[in-house]
C-alpha cells in the first residue's frame, strides 16, 4: 500500500471567486490542473504521491457554487454545498428526505462539514490497488489487480464489471438518481444539463473515469425537480463500521403509492458497480403491485439477476437482494422511511 506522507508535494494554488475564472484556469492549465472541492478525496491522492498536479484550482471561494435555493417547483443545490448543509436544510429535509439521509450516512461529522455534495458524487474509486498507485486499468495500465484469483476484492463489483471491478463509493449518488436530479455542468462550450443517472459511467465506456466530466468541465449545480417531492423514501447503507465507512451496498428508493399499490418507483443501488445502478427492470416489475413481502421477494430476486461475484464478494449478492427487498417493503434497517 502507499505510504502516507505528512507533507504533500508542492503545487501552484489558485482560488478563483467565480465559475468563469475557474473555467478559464482549467482551460489555461488543461490536464495539469486538479479541481479541488472539499479536498477529502484529493488530499488522499496528494499525500500518497499518486497524483501530483502542478496546479490546483480550489473552488471554495466561489460563492455561486454554494447554497440551496428553491427554484420553480424544485431545488437547486450548489456543487460546493457541504454535506452537513444538505443534511440540515429544512426544505430538503421536508420534501426530499432521502437526500439528507444519504448525505448523513456519508463518512463522519467532521468530513461532512468539509465534504461537498459535488465532491461526493464526483469522487474517485476507492479500490486500494488503484489508490495504491499500481498500474491497473483505471490508472491507465492493462490489468485489474482486484480481479485476479488472489485479488482482495471483498468490496468490489458484482455488476457491470468490464476489466475494472472497482465500485462507486458515493452515498448521495443513488439518492439523487432516485430523485431524478439533473446535473448542471459548465464546459468550455457552454452549459450542459444531464440526468444524474447519466452523470456516472462504467468502465466499459471510460475505464479511467467515474463520471462524464472531462478535463475543463465543472459540475456547478444539482437540480432536484419536484417530481418525487414528498414521496415515500427509503435509504439504507450496509457497511462494516456504522460510525464511518464506505458502503458495501446502499439502496435508495422513491415510491409513490396508490392505496397499497406501487404507482411509481425509482430504485437505485450503489457499491455494486462502478456506477450507481438504477434497477429499471425491477421498477417495471413491481409497478402496480402491492407493496408487500411477495412483491419485495420478486424485486429482490430480479435485482441480482446477472450478478457475477468475484472471489471474495459473493456476500454482496444476498446483501443487495435483501436491501432491495427492504426498500420495496419500506421497513426495517432503513435510515429513512
Amino acid at each position: 500500500m502507499a505510504v502516507i506522507h505528512d507533507v504533500i508535494p508542492a503545487f501552484e494554488l489558485f482560488q478563483p471567486t467565480t465559475v468563469d475564472d475557474a473555467l478559464a484556469l482549467q482551460s489555461r492549465h488543461g490536464a495539469k490542473a486538479w479541481v479541488l472541492a472539499g479536498g477529502l478525496d484529493s488530499f488522499d491522492w496528494f499525500k500518497d504521491r499518486i497524483k501530483r498536479p502542478e496546479v490546483v484550482i480550489d473552488l471554495s471561494q466561489i460563492k455561486e457554487l454554494r447554497g440551496i435555493r428553491a427554484v420553480g417547483d424544485g431545488l437547486e443545490i450548489g456543487a460546493m454545498t457541504t454535506l452537513t448543509e444538505v443534511v440540515r436544510h429544512p426544505m430538503v429535509r421536508e420534501k426530499y428526505s432521502i437526500l439528507p439521509n444519504a448525505a448523513e450516512a456519508a463518512a463522519s461529522p467532521q468530513i461532512r462539514n468539509q465534504g461537498t455534495i459535488g465532491g461526493n458524487v464526483s469522487q474517485d474509486a476507492r479500490c486500494w490497488y488503484y489508490r495504491g498507485g499500481w498500474p491497473c486499468y483505471r490508472a491507465g495500465g492493462n490489468i485489474c489487480y482486484a480481479d485476479t484469483p488472489t485479488g482482495l476484492n471483498r468490496e468490489h463489483a458484482i455488476l457491470d464489471a468490464d476489466r475494472c471491478v472497482a465500485v462507486n463509493p458515493s452515498d448521495t449518488a443513488p439518492a439523487l438518481i432516485a430523485l431524478d436530479a439533473k446535473m448542471v455542468i459548465r464546459t468550455p462550450k457552454g452549459e450542459r444539463v444531464v440526468n444524474a443517472e447519466d452523470y456516472f459511467i462504467g468502465p466499459a465506456i471510460d475505464i479511467t473515469r467515474m463520471t462524464i466530466l472531462q478535463p475543463g468541465d465543472l459540475l456547478t449545480t444539482i437540480r432536484i425537480p419536484s417530481t418525487w417531492a414528498g414521496s415515500q423514501f427509503y435509504f439504507e447503507k450496509a457497511r462494516d463500521r456504522s460510525v464511518w465507512d464506505f458502503a458495501l451496498v446502499n439502496v435508495a428508493a422513491a415510491v409513490v403509492t396508490s392505496g397499497n399499490a406501487i404507482e411509481r418507483i425509482r430504485l437505485v443501488v450503489n457499491g455494486v458497480a462502478a456506477h450507481p445502478v438504477r434497477l429499471t427492470a425491477v421498477e417495471a416489475a413491481v409497478q402496480g403491485k402491492p407493496r408487500n413481502a411477495e412483491t419485495a421477494e420478486l424485486a429482490g430476486q430480479l435485482a441480482v439477476r446477472g450478478a457475477q461475484p468475484l472471489q471474495y464478494n459473493g456476500y454482496k449478492v444476498p446483501l443487495m437482494r435483501n436491501l432491495v427487498k427492504r426498500a420495496i417493503r419500506g421497513v426495517a434497517g432503513g435510515e429513512a422511511a
Binding site: N142, R163, A204
Partner: protein, 289 residues
C-alpha cells in the same frame, strides 16, 4: 513523446504497459503526408515507365489468345477480402475512437471483430496455400531486379527497362508482407489478451504470463494497431487512385479486361490457364489466370 508507457508494478519492476497513444497521431499524420507526397510526385514528376521489349513482344504475340475478361480474384478471395476489410475497420474504429474521445463500450465489439478477422485469416492461409497460386504474392528475384531497374531509371541512370508485373506488382507484394506481419502480430497478441477480459471462450486468467510478458504483448498489439492505421489509410488511397481503380474493381467483380491485362501484366509471368472459371458474370468467356 513516449514511444512506450512504463509503470512500476507491485513488485517494484518497471514494466511496459502499452505504447504511447500519441503514436496514433504519428501514424495517421505520417500516412497522410505519404499520400500527399505520393499524389504530388505522381502529378508532377513521375514519368511513364518504358517496359522491356521482350514483355511487349510477348504481349503482342499472345494478345489474340487472351479472353475479353481475365479472372483475377476468385469469389472466395473476394469474400475473404471483404470480410477481412470489415473486421479490420471495425477493429480500428473500436480501438481508436475511444482514444480520441469518442466514448462507448468498445471491448466486446473489438474482440468479436478480432475473432472474425482471425477466422478469415485462417481461411485465407488455407485457401491461398492449397487453392491459389501461393507464391504469386511473394516478392521474387525478378521483382527485385525490376525494382532496381525502375529506381535507377527514375534517378536518370542507365538501366535496362523493367518487365511488366506478374499477377501482383512489387508494391502489392510488399504491402501484403507488411500487412501479414502486422496482422499476425495483432491476432497473436489479441488472442492472448482475450484471456484478460470476459468472453464466452476463456476463463479469465490475468496471470497466464508475467507482467513483463503481458506488457510487451500490449506494446506489440498497440504497434500493430497503429501500424494498421497507416496501412489501411494508404491502402484506401491506392484503391481509389485512378490508375489503380481497375485493380479495385477486380477485387469487387473478380476480373480485369484483356486490355488491362496486356497493358499492366506480363503474360509470361502471369500466364492464363485454361477454364473452368469462377469469376463474375460475363457475357464473354472469362479465363482464370
Amino acid at each position: 513523446m513516449n514511444l512506450i508507457e512504463w509503470a512500476q508494478n507491485p513488485w517494484g519492476q518497471q514494466i511496459p504497459i502499452h505504447i504511447g497513444w500519441n503514436l496514433l497521431w504519428v501514424s495517421a499524420i505520417g500516412a497522410l503526408l505519404f499520400l500527399i507526397g505520393h499524389a504530388i510526385y505522381v502529378r508532377y514528376w513521375a514519368k511513364a515507365v518504358t517496359v522491356h521489349s521482350d514483355s511487349r513482344a510477348a504481349t503482342t504475340g499472345r494478345a489474340l489468345q487472351v479472353p475479353e475478361r481475365v479472372a483475377r480474384h476468385s469469389l472466395g478471395s473476394r469474400l475473404f477480402h471483404l470480410i477481412m476489410a470489415i473486421a479490420m475497420l471495425a477493429l480500428l474504429v473500436t480501438a481508436f475512437l475511444p482514444k480520441v474521445g469518442v466514448r462507448f463500450a468498445w471491448v466486446t465489439y473489438h474482440w468479436i471483430a478480432g475473432i472474425v478477422l482471425t477466422i478469415s485469416v485462417i481461411y485465407h492461409i488455407f485457401h491461398a496455400s492449397f487453392w491459389l497460386d501461393f507464391w504469386s504474392i511473394w516478392p521474387d528475384k525478378e521483382d527485385v531486379e525490376d525494382a532496381s531497374r525502375r529506381f535507377k531509371r527514375a534517378l536518370g541512370q542507365s538501366a535496362p527497362p523493367p518487365r511488366k508485373f506478374a499477377k501482383y506488382p512489387l508494391e502489392n507484394k510488399l504491402y501484403h508482407l507488411v500487412v501479414m506481419l502486422a496482422g499476425l502480430t495483432a491476432i497473436g497478441t489479441g488472442l492472448f489478451m482475450m484471456k484478460r477480459v470476459q468472453t464466452p471462450f476463456f476463463t479469465r486468467n490475468p496471470y497466464l504470463f508475467g507482467d513483463m510478458t503481458w506488457g510487451w504483448m500490449y506494446v506489440l498489439h498497440g504497434l500493430a494497431g497503429i501500424g494498421f492505421v497507416a496501412l489501411v489509410t494508404v491502402h484506401i488511397y491506392f484503391a481509389i487512385r485512378p490508375e489503380k481503380l481497375f485493380l479495385t474493381k477486380a477485387m469487387i467483380f473478380g476480373w480485369i479486361t484483356r486490355e488491362q491485362y496486356l497493358e499492366h501484366h506480363d503474360p509470361a509471368r502471369w500466364p492464363i490457364k485454361e477454364p473452368p472459371s469462377e469469376a463474375g458474370p460475363s457475357k464473354s468467356k472469362t479465363v482464370p489466370a
